[in-house]
Amino acid sequence: MATEESYPDDLRYHREHDWARIEGDQATFGVTWFAQDSLGDVVFFDPPEVGATVAKDEPYTEVESVKAVSDVIAPLSGEILAVNDEAGTNPELINTDPYGEGWMVKVRLSDPGEVETLIDAAAYKALIAD
């Protein structure tokens, strides 16, 4: 099912196993390879509403594997501009392409300074190696 383990260098990471791809004052969020591997087969993802606000460190949506429901934590604060409806229809994309077609939301950041609190790929890899 899943791809090879990877943590792209161009992403920033949150210690609750989320990534953010920063593009100016916008960012795309998703969950890391480690998160999808821990979940196992993802069978359900209900995208949140466009226009909803998300708060850094707070849950903004859920993903479900066969066995369990997991909160997805917002790595940064902002307003949801777009959601990945394709992953709602085909939740296995979160397993097969967590950094690409398995993205979850695009957000307009309300406080771009928060980016400084995220960690880089090397620090995230060190975190999950513990």
Binding site: M1, G40, D41, V43, F44, D46, E62, E64, S65, V66, K67, V69
Partner: protein, 362 residues
């Protein structure tokens, strides 16, 4: 509970070697999955999978009044069990509550007369109940849990694969046979918990790893607790601790078929009363008709009335929808009834379905 207090089956190293993800379960460290729940589920539905169920316990009964004693202990009619037969039953409290659900085997050629398989979490309490009810019977109740490892080999190809490793003909469904399997002295039982054909094999703990290795070499897929749960829920087999428990009697649980009150089993008066008077709630199968996955403890609604509670819920890999079981008011328990399930604050449209939720198309 920390890792040091968890028990390990004789196959622990084999699970690690097979890439198993081990989790605490009923006091044991058990594999929840290897390759993934969906792949393991499909392997059992389409080919063959093997589950380590060595955490399950066994209670032996021997002595001149073994049959009379077991008749007093379990809900089914033990007298109907012929040598080599297997029978499902409830173990009830005096008030009819379900302490456990069990398979008992009448052994033809062993040092025990009967062997009963217990759920891991209930084994000690079951043993105490068996012994409490042995008063006045000339029997010996023996804890046999340490004597056996247990492997469930399930799927349309299971019998063929096990037969190739066995010294003789496999027992038919709901029967047992003492055979050599992969060189091990085995009690082979035509039972399972997946809705597929297959066998459960009890062997001495030291022989488990060899049997496991032979099965995997024959192409059998190792399967974990995750797939075990999706497989059993699709065919509406009860999970003790979720769908049944001491607060539920067999009648409301839909297990009246394995209760023979005329045998006078412990708890039979309460079960007879529940059968005669009806119960306020019934255990039903349910399916989400749109999006969403029901989970245990989700409220079941009809309009604005809360009519019940989900006891088991998951995503059905075979059906591609959210399924479950739960207790609802008896007057709302007919298959086809439209319901809603409150899944963490979101109402999901669902309906009560007849059991089983999944039936093999032949």
């Amino acid at each position: 509970m920390n890792a040091e207090t968890l028990r390990r089956t004789p196959l622990f190293d084999a699970h690690v070697a097979a890439g198993g993800r081990l989790v605490p379960f009923a006091g044991w460290e058990m594999p929840v999955q290897y390759e993934g729940v969906a792949a393991e589920h499909a392997a059992v539905r389409e080919r063959c999978g093997v589950f380590d169920v060595s955490h399950m316990g066994q209670i032996g009964i021997r002595g001149p009044q073994a049959a009379d004693h077991l008749q007093r202990v379990v809900s089914n009619d033990v007298a109907k069990l012929a040598a080599g037969g297997a029978q499902y039953a409830c173990l009830c409290a005096d008030d009819g509550g379900i302490l456990d659900d069990l398979f008992s085997y009448l052994l033809a050629d062993r040092d025990m007369d009967y062997l009963t398989v217990t759920n891991a979490a209930n084994h000690e309490l079951d043993l105490a109940r068996f012994r409490q009810l042995a008063d006045g019977f000339d029997v010996e109740v023996v804890d046999c849990a340490a004597d056996f490892a247990m492997l469930a080999v399930q799927g349309p190809e299971a019998r063929g694969i096990v037969a190739a490793l066995a010294s003789g003909e496999l027992p038919p469904r709901m029967h047992t046979a003492t055979l050599e399997v992969a060189g091990a002295a085995a009690l082979v039982c035509g039972t399972g918990y997946t809705g597929e054909d297959g066998v459960e094999i009890l062997v001495p703990p030291d022989d488990a790893a060899g049997l496991w290795r032979e099965l995997l070499a024959a192409g059998v897929t190792p399967c974990g607790l995750g797939a075990r749960d999706t497989l059993r829920l699709e065919v509406c087999f009860h999970l003790h601790g979720n769908d049944i428990g001491p607060d539920r009697n067999p009648i409301e649980a839909g297990l009246g078929w394995c209760c023979r009150e005329e045998t006078g089993f412990a708890g039979s008066a309460a079960v007879a009363a529940a059968r005669a008077n009806g119960t306020a709630e019934r255990l039903v199968a349910l399916a989400i008709t749109g999006r969403g996955i029901p989970r245990p403890d989700n409220p079941i609604l009809a309009g604005d009335d809360r009519i019940g509670t989900v006891t088991s819920g998951t995503f059905s890999p075979s059906l591609g929808i959210g399924i479950g079981m739960g207790y609802v008011r008896s007057d709302s328990s007919e298959p086809g009834t439209a319901i809603e399930i409150d899944v963490r604050g979101r109402r999901r449209e669902a309906e009560i379905r007849s059991k089983p939720l999944y039936a093999k198309s032949t």
